[in-house]
């Protein structure tokens, strides 16, 4: 049985949303930063053997915004799941994490959201340990688009949440 679900990556600019998708879909990475304007849409099939279901993730890579309330509402129509991505090395990208998550939850109360701290390759485990309270919310995954660490798990985990 094939299911198609729309997931949206949201967060500040430069946090690595496009890099995470590129790593997940194409298994590639580039150090060059190219700003995303508007939306790129890609898709990838995820096999979930334990549920006997395949799921097609239609992944919306939104342009980064330091104020998510400015996100164009049309981009969010029909969203089945969110990935909120922040940059572990830049506090400006997680200072409003808690407010941003509340904002999304209020508008999409039953839609799963996973929180991703990206660029894990640039910080130590100790840094993460010391800053857990600073992030303000539970972080589901610490990823590195550069090394590929946890990237597959993020999308698979969200896919599982979408078919529950």
């Amino acid at each position: 049985m094939k299911i198609s679900k729309k997931i949206v990556l949201i967060g500040h600019f430069g946090v690595g949303k496009s890099s995470l998708i590129r790593r997940f879909v194409e298994d590639t990475f580039t150090e060059d930063y190219k700003v995303t304007i508007g939306v790129h849409v890609l898709k990838k099939e995820v096999k979930l053997p334990e549920t006997d279901k395949d799921i097609t993730l239609v992944i919306w890579d939104l342009e980064g915004n330091d104020d998510i309330t400015n996100t164009r509402p049309s981009y969010l129509i029909g969203t089945n799941g969110f990935l909120y991505v922040f940059d572990l090395t830049r506090p400006a990208t997680y200072e409003k994490l808690s407010n941003d998550l509340d904002y999304i939850s209020e508008r999409f109360p039953k839609t799963p959201i996973k929180v991703i701290g990206n660029k894990k390759d640039l910080v130590t485990n100790e840094f993460i340990k010391q800053n857990k309270e600073v992030f303000g919310r539970f972080v589901d995954f610490y990823t590195s688009a550069k090394s590929g660490k946890n990237v597959e798990d993020v999308f698979t985990n969200l896919a599982k949440a979408l078919i529950k």
């Binding site: 930063y33 849409v41 239609v58």
Partner: protein
Amino acid sequence: MLDNYKKEHPQSVNQYMIVQLDGTITESDDVIYKNIVGENISEIHPFFESIHEALQEKNKRHVFSCIHLTDQNNQTIITDIVVKTFDNDKLPMIVILDLTLHYDNYQTTAQVRNESVINSQILELKNDYLQEKEAFKNAFIANFSHELRDPLTGILTFSDILKKTGLNDEQLNYLKVIDSSSSYLKQLIEDILDISKIEAGKLELVITPFDIRELLEDIKKGFKIKAEQKGLELITNFNNNLPLIVGGDPLRLRQVINNLLENAIKFTEVGTITFNVSLNQIRAQKASIHFQIIDTGIGIAEDDIEQIFTSFTQLNKASTYKGAGLGLAIAKHLVSLTDSKISVDSTLGEGSTFSTNINFKLDHNYKLKSKKKTKEIKPKSDKKYSILLVEDSEITQLSILKILASKGNYFLDIVTKGEDVVPRIEQSEFDLILMDIKLPNSYGDEITKLIRKMPDRDHKKTPVIALTARVFKDDLRRYKKAGINDVIKKPFDEDALLSKIEEYLK
């Protein structure tokens, strides 16, 4: 020609499509995507897979701006997409507007803006990190040198005491080595602390009237002996028209000259050290005095001159000359506090000339403080004085005990914890309190505040002298505010301790 114009001045192009509710394309004008009738809209691009929900709505118009699609030639186009549904049985319409040119310009602007914001955030973080690192270094240096002071006080005082125990010549020679090593260590700690103060921006000059000629003569006396010990000649020329009393920081001026002369002697093996001081300029309330130190030493290569004023830099890497390389860095900073600079003229193998013009204040109302004749302020020999020592370091306790015991007219009571001070004062009367500042779990200035608040009036008057290495301007202000009368700087020797005690027991 029209075709050329169209290529040179392209305008946006639109494609109209009519789709069924399941996404099957029933009509298309094939402007961007050709021959697609009968296909499902989802097959054109993943974007359309997500708009099935919008197709089911009635009489709605959704505009999706700046959507990246791939055309049939595999080229990326950036579009606005309009999805229009109707009330009646009319099928939904999809319009694709190719606005690639417009959005390409936007992309360039956004790229510049975002990169600039990210770079400034990273720069700010780096700056924060460097400041934290700097603060840690300064705190480390301050604490570490503080910890060195107690054992150094022990070495200095017991070395003094040992000298008076009838040693033979060989033993006295050994003691001289201990003396010279501990003096060097003391100087090194002072220099490291000064550098940490400089880097923390806490080093300030204390301006006071002083007799500059007397200070120069005093410096000359000390360095004449040092130069002679190395087989060098110290030539001094102090101009006669120097003002008698100037306003400046005599301690720091002495430090600058000492560092320059030390440096000259250190790097000169044969010849002379010439120390010239002359009046450069005089105005109503300001005198500029020129200091020049010329040596016939090893000299400095032109490319290295800038480096010599950097902390921990010694050009002679072969370690022929001992030293941490802090003296000139400190001198340079101290001179800069008077808005002046030290200039260097040097020839490798021939020698160097260090010069500077330092500004001093002039004021006819300047009067010199009468010098403290400590020797004359001896306490009455027939009276025994009770002194309370608040100190946790056993070395310092023992040093003070030995010094005071050798004089025979002091009773010393020792308390090691802050919380025991007030109860001890309530039990016994003391003529003076020696108070360490950094005690386990408490601070001497805070304890002094408690002493000053005690109901018995006498306690308010008992002199409290702090024993501490922390003598930044802010610290001194805090001690004074707490009711501390004076400070003995660690590490101290017998003279420093006794003269201060005797001053307050007159």
